[in-house]
């Protein structure tokens, strides 16, 4: 019975954002890039709120400076992305996207958010792990 209560408590709490421990293979396979994975992923799941063009009062709680409408924006807070939405050997984080989303960027929370599959979350962490160590010119 005590274990049942503990389990119920942990489920209710939902755990906490945890680094997934994903590392980029050496050498970098280069299979997941911003163009073929990161950009479409962010546009599908994140930039409804995490877009620098959305004013603060319409971000539905998204923190300022957490804007994923560009690669440089993603690379400003890669750990947060991994801890909120990524999946890897040490954790599977499903804190983002939230339950409700706007149907248009910056709109009110009117629809259920699309949720990435477990495979997409693993790809997200894998891409972040590699992209952050790749050379960039910006």
């Amino acid at each position: 019975m005590r274990h049942a209560f503990l389990l119920a408590f942990l489920v209710a709490c939902g755990g906490s954002p945890t680094p997934t421990g994903t590392v980029c293979p050496d050498p970098d396979p280069g299979t997941l890039t911003y163009e073929n994975f990161g950009k479409p992923f962010m546009e599908k799941y994140c930039t409804w709120c995490h877009d620098k063009a959305i004013p603060r009062s319409q971000r539905n709680g998204a923190p300022i400076y957490h804007d994923y409408d560009s690669l440089i924006g993603v690379l400003e807070t890669p750990d947060h992305i991994d801890e909120q939405a990524g999946s890897g050997p040490k954790a599977s984080n499903g804190f983002m996207p939230p339950g409700r989303c706007p149907s248009t960027a910056g709109g009110s929370l009117s629809v259920d958010c699309q949720q990435p599959t477990e495979e997409e979350r693993q790809q997200l962490s894998a891409w972040i792990a590699c992209e952050r160590v790749r050379p960039h010119t910006f």
Partner: protein, 259 residues
Amino acid sequence: MRVPFWIVIASALGGLAPGAARAEHDHGGGHHHPVDTVSSFAASVGLVAARYDTEVYAGDYQGVLPALGWMRGRFGASAAVGAYRLVENGLTRYGVSDVVLSAQATLAEANGAMFGVALAISLPTGDRYGGFGMGHMMVMPAVWGSGAMGRVRLGGSVGYGRAIGGEAHHDHGSWPLVDPMNLQELTWTANASVPLGSALQAGVKMSGGVPIGDGSNRVSGGVRAIWTQGQVETAFEVQAGFAGDPFILRGLVESAVHF
């Protein structure tokens, strides 16, 4: 004027706002210490409204702040919590804050001056990710004192606050939104009040926190009036944040009954 027991408790708690209690230890508010040998109690409710603009969040919040207090002789204890409606970057959330438990003792009293110690502990009942709580326990010992200078009563305190256990990252700037505090800091308060009649007092108050290690210096100040009618005391306070993004402007109304 009878010893306003409630004001002693309120002073010990920094106006009873849970955050003020844990972070600012606003002792020595300028009131005589009751030397009663029987227990007395107090119950209060406060209403708070504020507008804030931190590093990554902006918005406003409104809260209801219930509190209970007990005092006997030189010793007192209290418990306080807040229930908030919090708007952060356009998202409205509802939640409770961290619970703050506080105990205090008056160590010395002479010629209207007092000196004492206090210990406040906050429990991580507030949602850390929603901006309602620290996400960990805080322990906050403090020393406080007060004394009279003519009609003006001066008071102040110096304390230390430290996070105990839990997750120790505040990576979104000033946090929690409803009552920011550093993971480790020195806290201070300074206040002055003057009676404007048999039932009314007016005063000013400054408070803040100086981080030890990572964090930001926090300073706020305000003016307040306390109206006493029988066993009921009502305080009105307007505060402004000067450093560290605690809030832009905050208003507080508290009413307490002591028995």
